[in-house]
Amino acid sequence: MEKGKISSLQMAFMLYPTIVATAILGIPSVTAKFAKTDFWMSPIFASFIGYLTVYLAVKLHKLYPGQTIIQYSEQIIGRWLGKIIGFLFLSFYIQVTGLIVREYAEFVVDSFLIDTPIIVVMASMVLLCAFVVHGGLEGLGRGALLFIPVFLIPQIILFILVFPDLEFKNIFPVLANGVMPPLKGSIVPGGWYTEFFLISFLLPFLVDKKKGMRYGMMTVFAVMATLVIVNLVVLFVLGPTTSSKVYPLMNVARYISFADFFEHMESFIMAIWVVGAFVKISVFFYATALGTAQWLKLTDYRPIVWPLGIFIVITGFWSISNSMDLERYNVNAFPFYGAVIQTLLPLLLLLIAMISNKNKKNKQSNTTDAPMK
């Protein structure tokens, strides 16, 4: 099905923007609503679910090498139940991809292309991503490698330029109301960390499979570090007003006035946003396309890329009526939805797989005298 191969580094560079891209723009505000001045800690607490998710995906892949969750779920719990699990995953990924496209377009339309119909922004992005997905995993991996500087350098420049406006005292009081507020705040970013389960669709195609776990964990750490830094910068600039902003990082970029010369830096945010969203949507799209093809037992996933693309645009367009709805979905539904599908379900599968494997081993060693391997 997929003949391309990627390196672990490419995998890491695909996953990093996939998580960070949409998490840096709006999430600080949501986290701040729960955690007040401690919201910079929330990504640290939330990252544990990321480590767990990567661990589960890698463990499952070790038991069933070369297969994705769509394939091995059938082996673990039987054909029909496996198909149901696969369907759950696919419907989840199609819907979430649609919502990511919507989220991307919502910001673009909100701040830059005010008069442009949102469907145009969504469709053109999905068209672009469809090309990449159609080109295969190798192209996607190389693209991610190529785009990572475009994603990282504007962030670094932004943080340097905003330095004079940082008020470090905003961090106080630390943990004024105990650990509960930042813990509550970590639920929403936790939803983003569960997206690390996408690694399950990439692991089968790694050249250096042994490094998969290490690079996966490193990516979780890098994402955590980035989110903590972004949250701190937002806190230092916006202080108590953070929770009232829809896109706090955008406000930070707009506030830059370095030497009366570097001003109006929102184009940096735009670069980060477009590139990040492009990689993110492509990776989700790829997982969806590959998964669907495997679920339907097709020989190739390329023919279904275009129809899926249309399907994704439509889900994004119709499942949410306005941007307030989208925010509510991101806060109230997604963290739990994402955690159930992408962390709890794999956890269950792994437990069942381990138990049944042990039983099998016991049976085999009981019936035949020959030792295993």
Binding site: D110, I114, T116, F172, T241
Partner: protein
């Protein structure tokens, strides 16, 4: 052999098919490239340089915008400075009335042939009348709309804000620029839209904005050639203006906010004839809140360094004893200024220094409990002011100028 040939042609056909489809797809993307809906040409924009919001007597909101006229700069520029009348003006002022800011704007748009663009508006002036009745409702527009910048400075004008925009200052191109430049000199408070938002949502619920008025034109200048300048501070309780502070008290506030940059402290040493002027070069202000036995206290520690820029006394500042006298006077003077401001603020219960925030940061629990009582606590609070002053440099001469050697004290 033949087999291979056949295979090659099939592959070629596939390739040709592929390249045609790629070209077609590329052509398909062309309509998306132009971005037709949001195409904006610079000559379709009315660039707002300053805006003022006033309240009329009947309760409606009057929005005035100062719009930049591109023609005035592009045609040579050096037409002999500001000529009289509208001919030489680089901006024009338009205003309209509505029940709120955005309605006034939509009506105003009907009078301006280009699309109003807020992205470069660096000055927002609230008229005194509106400020007294509350600015929160109109502030919402400025923070919600994607164009106005959080970096823009906010002012309150004495009288109507529109008059500030209408003045045609001789030195700068337009009055918005004058106020912005004056703010950059740190002569008065400098408050951005974001600062305002932060003060309103913060713990102390008190706001201080620079208060501006027009300096009447000098003799021989045209009628509108007055210059707006910052002459004090407008104090707000929540979003309503409740009082003002004089220029002198504002300086004390600048000390407390650690925003002292460019003005001169002139002192009269005790028991000595003449005055010494000192330019504060650097200052470090620390505000330390304490709660001791339920008593809320604040200690203000100021560490400042200055340069002598005029010495009208007979003191020879190279002598340690005389320098001590000057330094002590400097210290006392700064302390006095800060106390004067504190007295005013505590008298009115306006915590514009942000002491509430400092207490919240250090004592979050106690503050949350006492939050409703904060105004009383602030008014009764004991404040220690502790100033350390150093005079570091004396300029190019080491004795009072033009004084015979024997008249200088403490040679």
């Amino acid at each position: 052999m033949i087999k291979e040939r056949g295979r090659v042609t099939v592959r070629e056909k596939v390739n040709r098919h592929k390249s045609i489809s790629i070209i077609l797809l590329l052509l398909l993307t062309i309509p998306f490239m132009s971005g037709c809906w949001d195409r904006v040409e610079i000559n379709d924009l009315a660039i707002v340089t300053a805006a003022s919001i006033d309240k009329k007597d009947d309760g409606s909101i009057e929005l005035s915008i100062q719009v930049f006229i591109p023609k005035s700069i592009s045609s040579g520029g050096g037409e002999g400075g500001p000529s009289q009348g509208a001919g030489g003006a680089t901006t024009l002022v338009k205003s309209d009335v509505g029940s709120n800011l955005s309605e006034a704007l939509s009506k105003l748009q009907g009078k301006v042939p280009r699309k109003v663009f807020w992205g470069h508006c660096k000055v927002f002036v609230f008229g005194e009348g509106l400020a007294k009745e509350g600015i929160q409702e109109q502030l919402d527009f400025l923070l919600r709309h994607p164009q106005p910048r959080e970096r823009a400075n906010v002012y309150v004008s004495k009288g109507k804000g529109k008059a500030i925009l209408e003045s045609l200052p001789p030195l700068e191109n337009y009055s918005g620029e004058v106020i912005k430049e004056l703010s950059d000199l740190h002569l008065g408070l400098r408050v951005t839209l974001h600062n305002l938002d932060e003060m309103l949502t913060g713990n102390s619920q008190a706001v201080a904005l620079p208060f501006i008025k027009i300096l009447p034109p000098a003799k021989g200048e045209a009628k509108l050639q007055g210059i707006p300048y910052i002459f004090g501070t407008a104090l707000f309780e929540r979003d309503k203006m409740t009082g003002t502070m004089t220029e002198k008290e504002t300086r004390g506030l600048l000390w407390l906010k650690d925003d002292m940059e460019s003005y001169t402290v002139t002192l009269k040493p005790e028991g000595i004839e003449g005055l010494i002027s000192i330019n504060p070069i650097s200052s470090r202000v620390r505000i330390i809140p304490y709660i001791v036995n339920g008593n809320w206290r604040v200690s203000v520690k100021v560490d400042t360094e200055g340069t002598v820029i005029q010495n009208g006394t007979k003191l020879n500042l190279t002598v340690p004893k005389s320098l001590k006298i000057a330094e002590r006077t400097y210290q006392k003077d700064v302390e006095k200024r800060i106390r004067l401001t504190l007295l005013h603020l505590q008298g009115n219960g306006d915590d514009v220094i942000g002491l509430a925030k400092e207490f919240y940061r250090k004592y979050p629990k106690q503050f949350s409990e006492a939050e409703n009582d904060w105004e009383r606590i602030f008014e009764e609070m004991e404040v220690e002011v502790d100033v350390t002053s150093h005079i570091r440099r004396q300029g190019y001469i080491n004795k009072p100028a033009g004084l015979p050697e024997k008249e200088v004290k403490d040679r």
